[in-house]
Point group: C2
Chain length 345, copies 2
């Protein structure tokens, strides 16, 4: 049974396990620092398909199949599938996963989807609704560029605060408690909107949501940043990460020792020309489902707060002059299922 | 605790209550057969806002506030909010609900969203994750037409199988068991795709998903259509409803006595020129959150299967020659919290 702690956090007393996980990515990611940890790297970003959208669907399917394979599982052992992505009407997920025959719950959380899907998968296992659930998401640079920005052929110039959408997918099977890593707690985010309207500065739009969710979690659990090896945000990039550190400082929490951002880990900003870093649902999904979960499994990492962030605008809302609301969902992932750790959780 | 029955169904042993519900709609709906049951009817489909998209956001906000008011509740008593809609990146929900400060889980289930959100809200209460959750969705004829079809100004001709997107929103508060109506069971749908490619015949694309979910439910619970007063589909319309009846007949279930479709209830097809009927997330949301829940509350209806259906394509997938995958989620809603009813559930 999950126990509510404070106003926003659920402690998962049964501590479900991540029983299988896998990541898929493409050429640019294969040249970055995560390459050695990624399961499937395809140089050709079409993945053999006839459109970027179909390529993205293909990545989700491959990530799911690889996660099942690594967990020694088949689709018949999965009761629910939680998935979503950035494309209009979430077609990467629906087309990519339509053949699986697993009950499907579609999500839209923008780049927070890895945390949203993983939270719901873990809660369904915790609540006894399922023995095993799948969580999956993806993004693709080419499908995102043409949907949200410009056709690639246009060759638009990018601003220094812009981020590079990761071409990749990550999938996790969450099951009843077996080995590490374990899901220990979930904090669902509230929508925050500080009035940022610059579509090329998503990190700044999302930092307040990450700060709010982290603050809720620390207050609810009576813990602080020093209790965790790693506080891992999804895709704040350089600008958003600086803002988050500052916002947390203002709330009395110093996170700089433990904080890293998937958007700054997946590419080498010096050599890969990605401006403020990586972004997209695939960014946090690939980093989590490669290096982070491997290190949590093996014990090099002990306690990780994973906070994926999403910017909840559309091209229509931006054209109508609206600001960018954002959200961040948090999971406490651990090498141990319990007992209470650190200062009180 | 929920109990898994068969392969696809969860029986909610605590039978959470729908503790508040409300519906909002506009002019065309005010001229249809549901008008007397709808809480807020605004003749002006802009709802006083400056765009159709903002009008749709406004409807969600109004539906949520009215559902809370009718349940004698405030946002501080709600732990989670489940919402989604048809617009790209679900902006009706994110912009409409961003000020509430309630932890938010965004969904994309196309026109199945009322059933998806209500299922998750009920399961969160059943699992002890929350005392109360909100489920809400919407659609707007004008925002849907310009996103999925043509600008209204173009005056495109509609085919006989086409359906009319409902301008409306429905919201439910699900809480721990109090009075009727009660949520007794949930069957999450699988994605079905029979190869239909006609974007103007959504009913046909969605009927196989509704048939599959209904079949799963009847098999899992060992019940049959005669155990229910009403089998209510979301927006199959005339064509899809005929297909569903036929598909169920082929599986050995005769549903014609109990079956009705929200798309055929919300408008008067004779006088309102809506071709094959109503559609959109708002279609099943408005019919459910007006007449159906009122009659379940008062006991005129005893046992209802609510199956909202969604077509999971986008304009991009259709332009790329893809068929239309679809999904249907089912809830058993009842005037009584138990005990076992009918032939075995």
């Amino acid at each position: 049974m999950a126990t509510r702690i404070g106003s926003y956090t659920l402690r998962l007393d049964k501590a479900p396990s991540i029983a299988g996980f896998a990541s898929v990515a493409s050429k640019k990611e294969s040249e970055g620092p995560m390459a050695a940890y990624i399961d499937l790297l395809c140089e050709d970003s079409t993945f053999g398909e006839t459109s970027w959208e179909k390529a993205e669907s293909r990545m989700q399917k491959d990530a799911v199949n690889k996660a099942l394979e690594k967990g020694g599982l088949s689709t018949t052992q999965i009761q629910y599938l939680f998935a979503g992505d950035l494309l209009n009407q979430c077609i990467s997920s629906t087309y990519g996963l339509r053949d699986l025959g697993v009950p499907f719950l579609g999500l839209y959380g923008a780049c927070s989807t890895m945390a949203e899907s993983l939270s719901l998968a873990a809660l369904f296992v915790e609540g006894g609704f399922a023995q095993r659930c799948l969580a999956v998401t993806s993004s693709h640079f080419c499908s995102a560029e043409r949907q949200f920005r410009f056709p690639l052929e246009y060759g638009g110039q990018r601003t220094p605060t812009s981020q590079w959408t990761v071409t990749g997918s990550g999938a996790c099977v969450v099951g009843e408690q077996s080995g590490p890593p374990f899901v220990r707690a979930v904090t669902v985010g509230t929508i925050e909107d500080m009035g940022i309207k610059d579509i090329n500065n998503m990190g700044a739009a999302m930092a307040p949501a990450a700060a709010m969710t982290l603050k809720h979690f620390f207050e609810d659990t009576n813990t602080n940043p020093s209790n965790y090896d790693l506080i891992l945000t999804g895709d704040l990039g350089l600008v958003g990460s600086r803002m988050l550190t500052q916002l947390m400082e203002e709330s009395g929490y110093s996170i700089s020792q433990a904080h890293q951002d998937c958007g700054l880990m997946i590419y080498d900003r010096e050599s890969q020309d990605v401006h403020a870093g990586g972004s997209g649902c695939g960014c946090s999904a690939v980093v989590l489902c490669s290096r982070i979960l491997q290190e949590l499994q093996q014990g090099q990492l002990r306690d990780v707060l994973f906070i994926a962030t999403g910017a909840l605008m559309s091209t229509t809302s931006v054209q109508q002059g609206e600001s960018i609301p954002s959200i961040a969902h948090l999971l406490h992932l651990s090498h141990l299922p319990g007992p209470d750790m650190g200062a009180g959780q």
